[in-house]
């Protein structure tokens, strides 16, 4: 009886924490999606200019806010072994955040956000034990797979806007990411989702290449 009353408390505490993490993760997802939409609203002609500068700056600030609020809420729930215990609860949000950061990084630099860079940006976020909060390799990689879908959409817009060179360079970028994924060792956390995401990535790649081909023929 008494022992089970204690077990009940433990189970309830775990479940409530999981619920809070799911909610914080959802907030991360929603805010990250907004950043992604903002990147898509940038002019597709690749001409740059003041408006684009301003929009990029705003997106950067929005990401900073996500880190300081929702991601911080995630981190503050975690300590020691909690990270892996609850990772399924907050992974979806972290993957979406990676996608948003990486798409903005691509829009600004034309390069892939690395795992080290992504973690460096999070270095100020601390967990409940005062440790720096880090992305798992799996969350980073799965976020990057989704990035390629966004780049495909950017490529289609560019072609539609008459920017002939963009599609070719985006095809090269996504091609390199796709190629890179082939040499990533399979780990348990990736096994469930990766094959399907790679299929989607390949179809994004073919779409960009086809768009590029249409401009040439």
């Amino acid at each position: 009886g008494d022992a089970f009353r204690a077990y009940a408390k433990q189970l309830d505490a775990v479940n409530e924490r999981r619920e809070r993490l799911v909610k914080a993760s959802r907030d991360v997802t929603i805010a990250s999606k907004k950043v992604i939409f903002a990147v898509h609203r940038l002019p597709a002609d690749g001409a740059g200019g003041g408006a684009e500068e301003a929009a990029l700056g705003q997106a950067e600030k929005d990401l900073q806010l996500i880190r300081k609020t929702s991601i911080k809420r995630v981190a503050q729930e975690l300590q020691d072994e909690d990270y892996w215990r609850f990772s399924r609860a907050f992974s979806p949000g972290m993957q979406e955040y990676v996608e948003a950061t990486a798409v903005l990084h691509y829009a600004k630099t034309g390069r892939l956000l690395t795992y080290a860079e992504a973690n460096a940006e999070l270095s100020e976020v601390q967990d409940a034990g005062g440790q720096a909060f880090r992305l798992s390799a799996a969350d980073y990689l799965l976020g990057i797979t989704d990035l390629t879908g966004e780049v495909m959409r950017l490529a289609i817009s560019s072609v539609a806007a008459g920017n002939k060179g963009a599609a070719a360079s985006m095809a090269a970028f996504v091609g390199a990411v796709y190629e890179g994924f082939h040499v990533v060792p399979m780990v348990a956390e990736l096994r469930r989702d990766l094959a399907k995401k790679l299929e989607v990535m390949r179809s994004s790649l073919v779409k960009i290449e086809t768009a590029s081909y249409m401009v040439h023929v």
Partner: protein
């Protein structure tokens, strides 16, 4: 190529996984031997029960050693218990089942979560048994009861049904205190209800 920096980290994680799997497989073989030995209780006589319990106890030491090996591996990867938990979850529920059942056969009481860990010489703060794994193991104890009671009565122990019915009834009441959100555990708990019902039927047959 891209992602080259990752290879080391991911391959290391795969290596840890393989290392844990190897120990888990040895634990699995051990617990299967113990479960086979435990089945001897269903011969129903006092001697059979005592002998089965003794045989199970013989394997306890190797099981502790293997658990200590797992603990040693995990000590090198602090905070990653739940990253690899799926590998040993099954054997840990078997451990909980075996230790708790043997204790019940000897003393007629339920081992607590903490007692199960200390029986296996595990220090919870270093490397323990997950609470839900313990609870699933307890459900397995319950699942064995209807068969045990039937066989004890066949062998002439007419007091057994009342004792078991009272134990399962308490257990059932205790489980009802839990808010089970874990579907697997809830399903196992549903089985407990059925076990209690069957034992009460035997108790009724014996009274008549």
């Amino acid at each position: 190529t891209l992602f080259e920096g990752f290879r080391g980290e991911l391959e290391a994680s795969n290596a840890v996984r393989e290392e844990i799997k190897a120990v888990s497989q040895s634990m699995d073989a051990e617990t299967r031997k113990m479960q086979a030995a435990l089945m001897g209780i269903h011969a129903g006589t006092d001697e059979a029960v005592a002998s089965a319990v003794a045989k199970v106890r013989e394997h306890l030491e190797p099981l502790r050693t293997l658990n200590a090996q797992l603990a040693a591996i995990m000590k090198q990867h602090p905070g990653q218990y739940y990253r690899y938990h799926d590998i040993w979850r099954h054997v840990h529920t078997s451990c909980a089942f075996l230790v708790a059942f043997v204790h019940w056969l000897e003393h007629g009481t339920l081992l607590t979560h903490a007692q199960v860990e200390s029986e296996l010489q595990l220090r919870h703060e270093e490397f323990g048994i997950d609470l839900e794994d313990y609870l699933v193991g307890v459900c397995s104890v319950s699942n064995e009861m209807p068969r045990y009671v039937v066989n004890r009565v066949t062998a002439g122990d007419y007091d057994c049904p009342a004792k078991v019915a009272s134990f399962l009834s308490d257990l059932y009441a205790a489980f009802r205190l839990l808010n089970l959100r874990n579907d697997f555990l809830r399903k196992r708990f549903d089985g407990l209800k059925y076990d209690l019902k069957r034992v009460e039927e035997v108790l009724y047959d014996v009274k008549i």
